[in-house]
C-alpha cells in the first residue's frame, strides 16, 4: 500500500463522513446503492462511517459523472482509458467518466460488451484515494491502478486493509475478513476481533 505525499488523511474529529451525488446526474436508487456498498467495504475495516446526504455542496465527498474536460485539469478520454479519478483528503472530489459503459446491476463478467466496466469495482478503488491511499503494486489489491473491463473486483485485500488501518486504525468489529460488506446490524451482533493495525 502507499499514501499520497505528506500522508494526508481526514482529521481525527472527522470520522463520520457524508457523501452526495451531483444532482444533474440524476442517479437511480440502484446506482446510488452501488456507492453505498462500496463505502461500506471501507467502513467495515475502519472507524469511519459514510452517510448519504442530499446536500451536494455541504457533503464531505462529492460524486459526479463528467465527460471530457470538466474543469479540474484532468480531462476524461472517452470509452476506457482513464475511468475515474479522486482527490486526496480532505478534498472529497470523486469524478467518474460519463462516457464509460458503466454496469451497476447485473453480472458484468458475462456481458457481451467488451467495454463494460463494473461501477462498484471502480468506486471501491476511488474511495481508497478519497481516504488517503495511493496506488499499490499488489495486483490483488483494490488499489492496483488498472482493472480489466468486464471484471468485478470489490473485495479489499490484506494490503488495502493494512494500508487504511495505518491511517485510521481498525474497526473494533472487524473480524479479519473483508469479502463482504458488513451491515450495521452485522456489526452490532459480531463477536468482534482485534484490529489489524
Amino acid at each position: 500500500y502507499t499514501f499520497f505525499p505528506g500522508t494526508p488523511r481526514w482529521p481525527d474529529g472527522k470520522s463520520d463522513l457524508t457523501y452526495a451525488f451531483l444532482p444533474a446526474n440524476q442517479l437511480s436508487d440502484d446506482e446510488k446503492a452501488v456507492f453505498s456498498r462500496a463505502f461500506q467495504r471501507w467502513a467495515a475495516v475502519t472507524p469511519l462511517t459514510f452517510t448519504a446526504t442530499d446536500s451536494y455542496t455541504a457533503a464531505d465527498i462529492k460524486i459526479g459523472f463528467f465527460s471530457g474536460d470538466h474543469g479540474d485539469g484532468e480531462a476524461f478520454d472517452g470509452v476506457l482509458g482513464t475511468l475515474a479519478h479522486a482527490f486526496s483528503p480532505p478534498s472529497g472530489r470523486f469524478h467518474l467518466d460519463r462516457d464509460e459503459n458503466w454496469v451497476a446491476t447485473g453480472d458484468v463478467t458475462t456481458s457481451s460488451l467488451s467495454s463494460a466496466v463494473d461501477l462498484e469495482s471502480v468506486a471501491v478503488h476511488e474511495i481508497g484515494h478519497l481516504l488517503g491511499l495511493g496506488h499499490s503494486s499488489v495486483e490483488e489489491s483494490i488499489m492496483y491502478p488498472t482493472i480489466t473491463s468486464r471484471t468485478k473486483k470489490v473485495d479489499l485485500a490484506t494490503d488495502d486493509v493494512q494500508g487504511i488501518q495505518v491511517l485510521y486504525g481498525g474497526n473494533p468489529n472487524y473480524n479479519g475478513s473483508s469479502s463482504t460488506p458488513s451491515t450495521s446490524q452485522e456489526r452490532e451482533t459480531s463477536d468482534g476481533g482485534e484490529p489489524r493495525a
Partner: protein, 130 residues
C-alpha cells in the same frame, strides 16, 4: 450512461466501441531505444500523465529516447513486469488496460514497487536444472 441490468441486454442493442483509448500503443511492439516511430510522443504523454516522465516545457518528440526508456523501466517495476526498458508485449498489454486516472508517481516520488527497497520487492527465484 449506465447499462441497466447488463445480463438482459441483447448484444445487438449494445453500443459499438470502435477504438478504445490507448489501443494505438499496441503498434509499438518491439520498438526500442534509438528508434523513431510515429505516435511515440503520445506514449510519452501517457507516461507524463501518470508521473513517469517529469513535466517538460517542450513538446515531446517521436524518438525512443533515454527518458522514455527510463519511464518504461520504472513502469515495469511498478507493475511487476520484467524491467527491461523495452516495449514488449507484456508491457503493452498492461499499458492499454483501463485504469484509474490518478498518477502512480506524484512529485517525482513513488511508493509503489519502484520506490521501495529491492529486498522488499524482489520476488524472483532462481532455479537450476539438474
Amino acid at each position: 450512461f449506465f447499462l441497466p441490468n447488463i445480463s438482459s441486454i441483447p448484444p445487438s442493442l449494445l453500443p459499438n466501441v470502435s477504438s478504445p483509448a490507448w489501443n494505438a500503443f499496441r503498434n509499438f511492439s518491439g520498438c526500442h531505444a534509438g528508434e523513431r516511430r510515429d505516435g511515440l510522443a503520445n506514449l510519452k504523454k501517457y507516461f507524463r500523465y501518470f508521473g513517469y516522465i517529469p513535466e517538460t516545457p517542450s513538446n515531446f518528440t517521436d524518438d525512443f529516447d533515454d527518458a522514455l526508456a527510463s519511464a518504461i523501466k520504472t513502469y515495469q517495476h511498478n507493475f511487476n513486469l520484467e524491467p527491461t526498458g523495452q516495449l514488449d508485449d507484456a508491457t503493452l498489454t498492461q499499458l492499454v488496460r483501463p485504469r484509474c486516472g490518478n498518477p502512480d508517481i506524484v512529485n517525482g516520488s513513488t511508493a509503489m514497487n519502484s520506490g521501495k527497497a529491492e529486498s522488499l520487492s524482489a520476488t524472483h527465484f532462481h532455479a537450476v536444472g539438474h
